[in-house]
Amino acid sequence: MAIHERAIIEAVSGLGFAGNEEGLIPAFGLYLTKHFADYYNRISYALLGDFIRRAPELEEDARALLIEAGRVCSFHTFGGIMTSVEWDAVVRPMIESREDWVLGMVAVVNALGWGRWEVKSLEANERLVLTVHDSYEATGYVRDYPRAKEPRCYLAAGGVAGLMNLVYQGDITARPTFSEAYYLEIFRSPRTFAARETRCLAMGDSCCEIVAERDPI
C-alpha cells in the first residue's frame, strides 16, 4: 500500500490545530471544535440510560440513533476531509487505489487523536475490519460505568460504516456535494454498509473491533 501513515500524521500535526479567537478550528474545510471527550460520552450514555429506564423496549432504537449520529458525522466530517485542500496536499499524492482512500482517512483519524485506529483487513467493496485502541468512547465508559454487556463505541461504529459508504457506495473520488439527497442515496441504499462492534473495551476486551459490511436496512 502506498499510504505512509507517519508522514500523514506529521503533516497534519504540523498544522498545529488550535482554536482561534472564535473558539473554532478551521481545518479540512470544516469548523472543528476541541472539547472534552467526556462531554460527548456523558450525553450519549445518559441518552441510552434514559431510554433503558423510561422505555426499555426502545433500547435498540437508542443504540441505532447514536450509531446514526456517527454515520451523519462521518458523512460530513470524513467527506469534508477527503475533499479538502489538506487531503490534496498530503494524502492524495500517496493514493494508488480506492482502498488507499480508506487507509488515508484512517491515518488522518489517528492524527486527530480519536483513539488509535488500525485496519486489520480490507476487502475491496465488501468488508472492513478495524480495531480501535484507546477508544475515547469505551475508555470513558469503563471509567464511569459498570462493565457493559454490549459494545459502546457508537460514534466510531457509525464512522466506520460511513467511511465505507463514502468510498464504495458513493464515489468520494468524484468530489461529491455533501447534500441530504446524497446522504440518502448512499446511506439508504439497499447495499449500504452497516457496522457492528464485535469487541469492546467496555465489555472487558483488550481493544475495540468494528466490522463494516454490506447490510441492507
Binding site: 503533516a11 504540523g14 498544522l15 498545529g16 482561534n20 479567537e21 472564535e22 478551521p26 481545518a27 474545510g29 469548523y31 479538502s84 485542500v85 489538506e86 490534496d88 496536499a89 498530503v90 492524495r92 499524492p93 456535494t177
Partner: protein, 105 residues
Amino acid sequence: MLEVIQVGAVTVTRLYGCTRRDQYELRAPRPFPSQLRDRLEVGRASRGGPDLYVIDEPGAFQLTVAPKSARALMMPRLTTPLESQRDTALSLAGIVDELLLEAPR
C-alpha cells in the same frame, strides 16, 4: 456553490458556509509559485511546511494552501461582513494571479 469568479488565471469559487460566512476556493491551472507564501505572510501568522501551509489573519480569515495542487481555501471569520469576505478572497486571488504571471512556466 454560489458563484464562480475568474481573476486572471485563478478561478475563485464561492461556496455556501452559513448565513454569515461563505468559503472561497482558489484554483489555478498550474502550481502556485513558492514566492506566494512570502507575500501572504507579511503581517500574518503562518504555519505548516512547503507542501501545505496555513496563513492566518486573526479577525479576518484563514487561508489553507496546497501549492503543488494549485488549490487554496479561504475560511473567513464570522465577524467579517459577507461583502468584505468576498473582497478579501478576490484580493488574495489577485496576488496568486500576479505571481503566476511573473513565475517562469
